[in-house]
Amino acid sequence: MTRRSVIRRLVRHPSGLIPASWLTLLVFAAVFGDWITPYDPNEADFLALFEGPSFRHPFGTDELGRDTLSRLIDATSVALLAGVQAVGIGLALGVPIGLAVGYLGGWWDRIAMRIVDAIFSLPGLILAFAIVAVLGPGITNAMFAVGFLFSLRFIRLTRGSVLSTREEPFIEAARLSGAPTIRVLRSYLLPNIAGPLIIQVSISFAAVLLIEAGLSFLGLGVQPPNATWGTMLREARLNQSQSGWLPWPPGLAITLTVLAFNTLGDRLRDVLAEDPASSPPVVPPAEFAPVRPAASVDSDTTGVSGEAFEAVYSLSDALLQVRHLDIEVPTAVGPALAVRDLSFDVSAGDVVALVGESGSGKTLSATAIAGLLPRQVNIVGRSSILFKGDELVGSTDDELRSIRGAHLSMIFQDPMSSLNPSLTIGYQLAEPLRSHLGMNKAQARDHAAELLSRVGIPNPRNRLADYPHQFSGGMAQRVMISIALAAEPDLLIADEPTTALDVTTQKQVLELLVQASEESGMAMLFITHDLGVVAEIADRAVVMYAGQAIETGEVFETFANPRHPYTRALLGSVPLVDKAQKKLVTIPGRVASPSDNSPGCRFVDRCSVSVARCSEAPPPLLSLPSAGRIVRCINPNGSPDGSPTVSSS
C-alpha cells in the first residue's frame, strides 16, 4: 500500500476523518497560535475576572481575567511539542535497543526483557517522579523522563518484530542463500515494522499527553505563567470555589485530543489490516454471483416429479423431518450457501448417518437442527425442520431450550473442549437432570453416578467431583454421552463423536452409542466421514456433497448398489484390507466451494461419467421408489450416454 492510499483510506471513515481533522486543527493552532489568539494569553484584565462564556470571551476568563480561549490555543504548541519530545526520545532509545536485543538474542535478550518487564510492572508516574527528581522539574526534563519510560514500549515492539521477521521462511531462505542476516533483516524489517510503529506512536502520543497534563497539574512540568492544559487545570482547581466553568475548556481539550490519538491509532490498525496483500484475493464478479437462496433452491429442484418426491418423503411417523434446508455462511466474498436444499427424515428409533467429506456441510446441518449455529451463520430460504411435529426454524431460543437436552441431545467431535473446564463433571451432569427431570440435588447426584456407571466409567461416585482435564479423551466422550443421554432424549445428534479418539476407544464408544440407542429406542443422527462406521451402525445413509444430499437410502442397499457417481467414487476410495490394492484410490479434483454458484451439477468437475448436460442445468432430485432411494443425478443408473461401468463390489 502506498502512503497516499493509506491516508486516503484512513479518512474515508468517520472514525479516521474526525480525529484527523481535530489533530490538523491542533497543529494549525500550534503553528499559528500567536496570530490567531484573540488576546495576549498572559495579559491580565482585572475588570473581567472569572467571566463565563460571552461574545468577548467565548470560553470565559480566569482568575487574572486572562482570556481562556487564547490560553487554550497558546497551550496547544506546548502539548504537541511535549508529545513530540517524549515520543521522539522513546523512539530514539527504544527502536535501536529493540533491534539490537532482537538481533543478538540469547542472554542479551533474556536479561534486557527481564529488566523491561520489571520496569513496566511499576507505576509509570512514580518512575517519572523519580527521574524528574534527579533531573529537576521543568517540561523538558519531565518529557525526557516520560520518553525514557515510553522507550520500553518501543523496545518491546521492535524486538517482537525482529523476532517474528527472523522466523519468516523467506528470511530463512535468504540466509541460507548466503546473505548476511543483518542485511536481510535490514531490507525486510522496515516494511514489517513501520505499520505497528506508527500505530504505537499514535497511541503513545495519547498517553504522553495525559502524563504531561498530570505532571503540569502537579507543578512538575510546565512552570507558570506559561499556559498548558495541565497548568490551566491546576489553576482551575485552586480557584474551584470561584468558578465551576474554568476546568471545562482545558479538560475537554485534553480528553478530545487523547481520544483523537487513540481512535486514529485504532483506525490505522484497521486500515493496515485490510492491506490487499494480506487479505484473500477478491474473486472477479463474473465468477461470483450473490446468493439468492429462493431462486437457487427452486432451480435446484426443477425436474423432480413432485409426486415422487413427496411420496418418498411423506413418511408421517418421522421423528425429524428436514426439508429444503439452506444454510448461509459469511465468506470473504460475501454470504454463500454452505448447505443447499437438504431434505431427509429420521424415524423414531432409526440410526441415520449423514456422510460426507470435510466441507460437505454435514456438521453445519446437524448443528442447525439443534439450533446451535454460530453467530452470523443463518438458516435461509424455505427451510423447514420439523421435530415431533414442531417447526424448529424460526423458533425462539426459549422454545428450542425446552426441546434441547430433554428431547434432542447432541454430542460433539472433541469431548475435551466440549466440557466446561471450570465445572466438575458431577455438576455438568446434574444440570440437565435438575432442569429437565426436576430432580433435587441429592437425587441428581445419585442418578449422575448411575449414568456414569452405565457408560462404563469405573468408580463413578468418586469421579463426580473431578474436572474434565482429569479424564482421558475416551472417558471424556463417555461423560459427554452420559450428559446427552441424561434426560432420555428421543433423538441424539452425534457429530463425529469418535474422530478425535484413538482407534481402540473408537470402537467402544460406538458400541456404547448403539447399545444406548437399542435399549431406549432413541433415534440417532450420526455425522461421519467414515464409511466403515456407517456400515456398522446406521440403518439409513444420507450422502452429502458440497452442501447437497446427493444420495439417500438404506445403508446396505446404497453401499451394495450406489447410484450416484460420487457415492460410487467414495466407496471406491475406501481401502479394503481383504483386497490386494496397488494404490489408494482417490477422487481427483476439489469440492465445489459454497460460493460457487455455477448452474450445473456440483460434482460435475470431478465426475468420471459427466456429460455436457451436467454443467448446463442442476440435476433433478430423482426418487427411485423401488430402491427406496433418492438420487440427485441425471444419470442414476450410470448408463447410456456416459457409459460408465458400475463396479459391483
Partner: protein, 314 residues
C-alpha cells in the same frame, strides 16, 4: 498453596533486587552529592567531606548499596534531609491513606467495569454495544484529575452530598471515611473501569464461542445460566491479569487524585520530595510500590486457580 506462594516469592526476588538497584542509583545519578544538597550551595568542601564520611558516601558503591539495602530490608530507608524525619515514619503515616484511595479507585473500576463489559458483550454488535465502546474509549481519554476537579465542584461544592476536600481516617469515623473516598474513587477508577470493561467484553465474547458453551446450550440450559455459570467464570482469567496491572496504575494515579481532593496521602510528600530532590523519600516510595506490585501479582496468580481448576493441579 504454601509452596506456590513460596515459589512466587522467590521468582519475584530479581524484580525486587533490580528495583532496589535503580532506587539506590538515584542518589548517584543526581548532579552533586547528597551532602552538597543538604549543606546547600557554596558549602565548605571540608564540611561536605565530613558529612560524606558520616553518611558513608566515601565507601565503595557496592558497600554503600548493601548497607542501604540491608537497612531497607529491616524497614529503614534513612532520614529525609529535608524534614529530618525518618522516611519509614512518613511512609507508615501516609501510605495507609494512599492505599485507601487506590482501593477506592479499584473498587469503582471493578464495580463499573465488569458489568459494563458483560453488558456490552451480551449486546454484541448492537447499538448499545457501539455506544458503550464509545463510552469506554472516552473513559480511557479523560484525565483522572479533571474528573476529580469536576466532581469536587459539582458534587462536593454545589450539592454538598459528599466532601469536596479532606479525608477522615477510618479509625475516626468509618462512615465519613467511606464518604471521603467516594469522589476520589470515582475520579481514579473511571479510566481503569474502561480498561476492565473492554477486557471483560472481549474475554466474554471469546468464551461464548467456545465448544463447551455450545454443549451447555445443547443441554437446554437458559441463556442466563449459560452466561453466568458456564461463561463468566472462564472469562474472568484475562480480566484478573488486567486487574493486576491496574493496581500499579492506581498507585500512580492516587498520587495525583490526592492533590485534587487535598487528601494527606503520600502524594504531597512525594511531589515535594521531587521538587526538593529529597531522594530517601523517593527511594522509600519506589521500594514500597515495588513490594505492593509484587504482592498483587502473587495474589493474581493464585486467583487463577480459583477460576481455572487446571492451574490448581499443577
Amino acid at each position: 498453596m504454601g509452596r506456590t506462594v513460596a515459589y512466587r516469592l522467590v521468582a519475584a526476588l530479581p524484580l525486587l533486587v533490580l528495583v532496589s538497584i535503580l532506587a539506590f542509583a538515584l542518589v548517584h545519578l543526581m548532579p552533586g552529592s547528597a551532602s552538597e544538597t543538604i549543606l546547600g550551595d557554596g558549602a565548605n568542601p571540608e564540611a561536605v567531606a565530613e558529612l560524606d564520611r558520616a553518611l558513608g558516601l566515601d565507601k565503595p558503591l557496592v558497600t554503600q548499596y548493601f548497607t542501604w539495602a540491608g537497612n531497607a530490608l529491616s524497614g529503614d530507608f534513612g532520614t529525609s534531609p529535608l524534614t529530618g524525619r525518618s522516611v519509614t515514619d512518613t511512609l507508615t503515616e501516609r501510605i495507609p491513606v494512599t492505599l485507601s484511595v487506590a482501593i477506592a479507585g479499584l473498587t469503582v473500576a471493578v464495580l463499573l467495569g465488569i458489568p459494563t463489559g458483560i453488558w456490552a458483550a451480551l449486546r454484541y454488535g448492537r447499538w448499545m454495544d457501539r455506544m458503550l465502546s464509545l463510552v469506554t474509549a472516552t473513559g480511557l481519554a479523560v484525565p483522572n484529575f479533571w474528573i476529580g476537579i469536576l466532581l469536587a465542584y459539582w458534587v462536593g461544592v454545589r450539592t454538598k452530598w459528599l466532601p469536596a476536600v479532606g479525608y477522615t481516617p477510618f479509625a475516626e469515623d468509618p462512615v465519613e471515611w467511606v464518604k471521603s473516598l467516594i469522589l476520589p474513587g470515582i475520579a481514579l477508577g473511571i479510566g481503569s473501569a474502561a480498561v476492565i470493561a473492554r477486557q471483560m467484553r472481549g474475554g466474554l465474547l471469546e468464551v461464548l464461542d467456545r465448544p463447551y458453551i455450545r454443549t451447555a446450550r445443547s443441554k437446554g440450559m437458559s441463556f442466563r445460566r449459560v452466561v453466568v455459570v458456564h461463561a463468566l467464570k472462564n472469562a474472568f482469567t484475562p480480566v484478573a491479569t488486567v486487574l493486576g496491572f491496574q493496581v500499579s496504575v492506581m498507585l500512580g494515579g492516587a498520587v495525583v487524585v490526592e492533590q485534587v481532593f487535598g487528601i494527606p496521602g503520600i502524594g504531597g510528600q512525594l511531589i515535594r520530595a521531587v521538587i526538593e530532590q529529597d531522594i530517601p523519600v523517593i527511594q522509600g516510595v519506589v521500594m514500597f510500590t515495588a513490594v505492593v506490585v509484587i504482592v498483587v501479582n502473587i495474589v493474581i496468580d493464585l486467583s487463577y486457580a480459583a477460576f481455572d481448576p487446571r492451574v490448581r493441579v499443577q
